[in-house]
């Protein structure tokens, strides 16, 4: 019996799909906890009915060990922990969405020092001091770095249980640098020099790669540049500093790097910067330390063994701090979760225990003290040195809305559509409006 050709093609395609699914689908969902995640004791009182705990955390080689430990170790009997993979932008959106109402979709949130003051001020997340006091001995919570706990506190109360810290690290191609006879730069001017020498070698057109994504990361980088001069977006009394001389210098220095970076740099988030390093189209990159481990994995790139790490440069020589931000990542409990907050805290606490923290090295820099030594990873030395030279970040609930407000203007300054002075004025005025208006 003759079958018409389209039918035959269609059946063939279906067969391909089915076999593709069949061959690869065995073990569906079997490794959702991460194969290599440490399993720890997660001992909490079992609730009466079957419960799903939804965890919101973006994926990165630094966060995943903690998330996976929590999911793997704490799911048992009636309780299932569920962690949907999501990128950073998605986490930001979902955090706002889940906290905006009487009920939310998530029960454990990944938060970081920058957003904690705003969320705490708004009453969206639960203060954790009582839980910490109650379980300090059981989970040895006093070993969590005091500075990092402060980063996750607001008005004296702890709102996030810190799991790790991230600071800027510079990754560079040791082979390319050696061939050009240069050492890792310590200022932006030296970066430009190094870039010129690498360009002269002819292989790499845009040697510098930075995550200046116009919808998110660019403001973090601007803040790092200002921090290098010792200024922040808001001073200690909460007044915007965009009209300051330091802000102007930071902008000029950032713009001076543009000829040595891919023209589409404003579309690069950190994974795209990683990609440039993987592909060998850039020779140096500055990103958060949590993204460094991926560069060392041969499964990601053939160049894995060529990467070396150093502390990020300062913007100018003589600047008080390095071009770096310190971000502490941790777990928070949303106020609007319907589950038992005590149980949630215990899950969070077990994920930052000793075994889990040890297993997260080298990908992460755990908050638990005594986990990182100079030879823990290829970039541990760089990370250790950078922490002390990063400007301490004071938390301000207005910092996040101000950052969102100035971002479009910052993009226009960087892309040259707006000149630096005009841009500074506009950022200053919109920051003032945001602080007073909201």
């Amino acid at each position: 019996m003759r079958f018409p050709r389209p039918l035959k093609t269609g059946v063939a395609v279906l067969a391909v799909a089915a076999s593709l699914a069949g061959v690869t689908a065995c073990g569906a969902g079997s490794k959702t906890g991460g194969e290599s995640a440490a399993t720890v004791a997660c001992d909490y009182p079992m609730p009466a009915e079957s419960t799903t705990v939804n965890v919101l955390a973006y994926n990165s080689s630094a966060i995943d060990p903690f998330t996976n430990t929590m999911v793997k170790s704490c799911s048992r009997d009636k309780v299932t922990l569920k962690h949907d993979p999501i990128d950073f932008a998605g986490q930001v959106t979902k955090t706002t969405a889940t906290l905006a109402g009487a009920t939310g979709s998530y029960d454990v949130l990944e938060t970081y020092g920058f957003v904690v003051p705003g969320l705490a001020e708004h009453g969206d997340i639960e203060p954790l001091d009582d839980y910490v006091a109650k379980y300090a001995d059981k989970y040895k919570l006093n070993a969590l770095s005091k500075e990092m706990r402060e980063s996750m506190s607001y008005k004296g109360k702890l709102y996030g249980l810190p799991m790790q810290a991230q600071m800027y690290v510079m990754a560079y191609r040791k082979d390319v640098f050696d061939a050009a006879g240069i050492k890792p730069p310590t200022t932006f001017a030296e970066m430009i020099d190094a870039a010129k020498k690498i360009q002269a070698q002819g292989n790499i057109k845009y040697p510098i790669a930075l995550p200046w994504n116009a919808t998110a990361d660019i403001t973090t980088n601007f803040q790092a540049a200002m921090n290098s001069y010792g200024k922040d977006f808001l001073d200690s009394s909460g007044k915007p500093q965009f009209a300051s001389a330091e802000a102007g210098k930071a902008l000029e220095q950032m713009k001076s790097l543009l000829p040595y970076m891919d023209p589409q740099v404003t579309t690069f988030d950190q994974p795209k910067v990683q990609q440039q390093m993987f592909n060998g189209t850039a020779a140096m990159a500055i990103m958060f330390s949590g993204r460094m481990n991926d560069l060392t994995l041969p499964s990601n790139t053939k160049l894995a063994s060529n990467f070396a790490f150093a502390a990020p440069p300062a913007v100018e020589s003589g600047a008080p701090y390095l071009y770096s931000r310190l971000s502490v990542d941790g777990w928070s409990i949303p106020k609007n979760t319907k589950l038992d907050k005590d149980m949630l805290f215990q899950m969070m606490a077990s994920s930052v225990g000793e075994d889990a923290s040890k297993a997260s090295v080298p990908a992460a820099y755990p908050a638990r003290e005594g986990m990182v030594s100079e030879d823990s990873s290829k970039y541990a030395a760089a990370a250790n040195g950078t922490i002390g030279k990063t400007m301490p970040a004071a938390g301000d609930p207005k910092a996040a809305p101000v950052t969102n407000a100035i971002r479009p203007i910052l993009v226009q300054v960087i892309t040259g559509q707006l000149d630096v002075q005009a841009g500074m004025q506009q950022m200053q005025s919109i920051a003032e409006k945001t602080i007073s208006g909201s």
Binding site: V11, T24, S30, N59
Partner: protein, 295 residues
């Protein structure tokens, strides 16, 4: 028996497209070559994605692109199944598509029949309204649905998403089915009812068998629309009822291995859809051509 005496409407123009006799004028080889090139160009994004997800991670997105000298692997697919809840997302997508298709047909069939048999100003206005509804910006409808579903406690359920899709696709369903019904002569209805059938009975026993091609066509379209749906799913789902298109977009900012998995997910979603478009080509063509050229 009445059905046997009348040939079922099968999308006359549509059938002609697929089974046209050899044209009498001489074939134009240039045209054929150009068309083959066009077809290949149209398939390029799909082919490129298929290549990217079957390469080992370190060469998958290499720049300049690597086309030879690697061993193809299905690792991205394996990781997708094992380390994410893709199985659940796929089930959600299929469940929502099936439910919305079935319900859309069940309530759309009688309505389309009524519109085709009750000519006049009212029908015309209703059909016009259907057109206007179809042209509405989705957000105007879906943003309030977010609020309604949250207050009813059905947010993030396949039920809510299916209901939304049934409503959103109703105008198209009615429009398409009505055009198929219009092909069946009215005398048939009267003949059946003289024999003692009630209107509903006649619908069930006579019309529906005759309308099989039309129903299949409408069903396939509604299924495809539901499968493709992104905007509504983005707003109305979160963790439990997430569908595959939404999952894919949450992976766009991820690092390399997870990006490959997103591509693998796209492939696994696409292949059944392509299969359907080949197997059911006749119906798709009939629906697109006949369902709207008339009326």
């Amino acid at each position: 028996m009445i059905a046997d005496t009348i040939k079922a409407p099968s999308g006359k123009a549509g059938v002609k497209i697929l089974t046209a006799p050899r044209p009498r004028k001489k074939k134009n080889p240039t045209a054929a070559i150009l068309l083959i090139i066009t077809a290949v160009v149209m398939l390029t994004p799909f082919i490129w994605t298929a290549l990217s997800v079957t390469k080992p991670t370190d060469v998958a997105f290499a720049n300049p692109p690597v086309l030879t000298g690697y061993a193809p692997t299905l690792e991205a697919f394996q990781n997708l199944w094992e380390t994410t809840y893709f199985a659940q997302y796929l089930v959600n997508t299929v469940v929502v598509a099936v439910i919305s298709t079935v319900v859309a047909l069940v309530i759309g069939l009688p309505a389309a029949y009524a519109l085709s048999r009750f000519p006049g100003y009212v029908s015309a206005i209703l059909l016009l309204l259907a057109l206007v509804f179809r042209s509405l910006p989705r957000f105007a409808v879906v943003l309030p649905m977010y609020e309604i579903s949250k207050s009813l406690g059905i947010y993030d359920t396949t039920f809510a998403l299916s209901a939304a899709l049934v409503a959103i696709n109703q105008p198209f369903t009615i429009w398409l089915l009505r055009n198929f019904f219009a092909d069946i002569p009215k005398e048939l209805d009267e003949a059946a009812m003289i024999d003692g059938c009630t209107r509903i009975g006649m619908l069930w026993r006579v019309m529906i068998p005759l309308m099989r091609p039309g129903i299949l066509t409408a069903g396939i379209f509604v299924f495809l629309f539901a499968f493709q749906e992104y905007l509504t799913a983005l707003i109305l789902t979160d963790t439990s009822s997430k569908t595959v298109p939404v999952f894919i977009t949450t992976q766009l900012g991820q690092t390399l291995p997870m990006l490959q998995q997103a591509g693998a997910a796209a492939m696994l979603l696409t292949l059944p859809v392509i299969a359907i478009s080949f197997i059911a080509q006749k119906y798709l063509v009939a629906g697109l051509s006949d369902g709207s050229v008339k009326g």
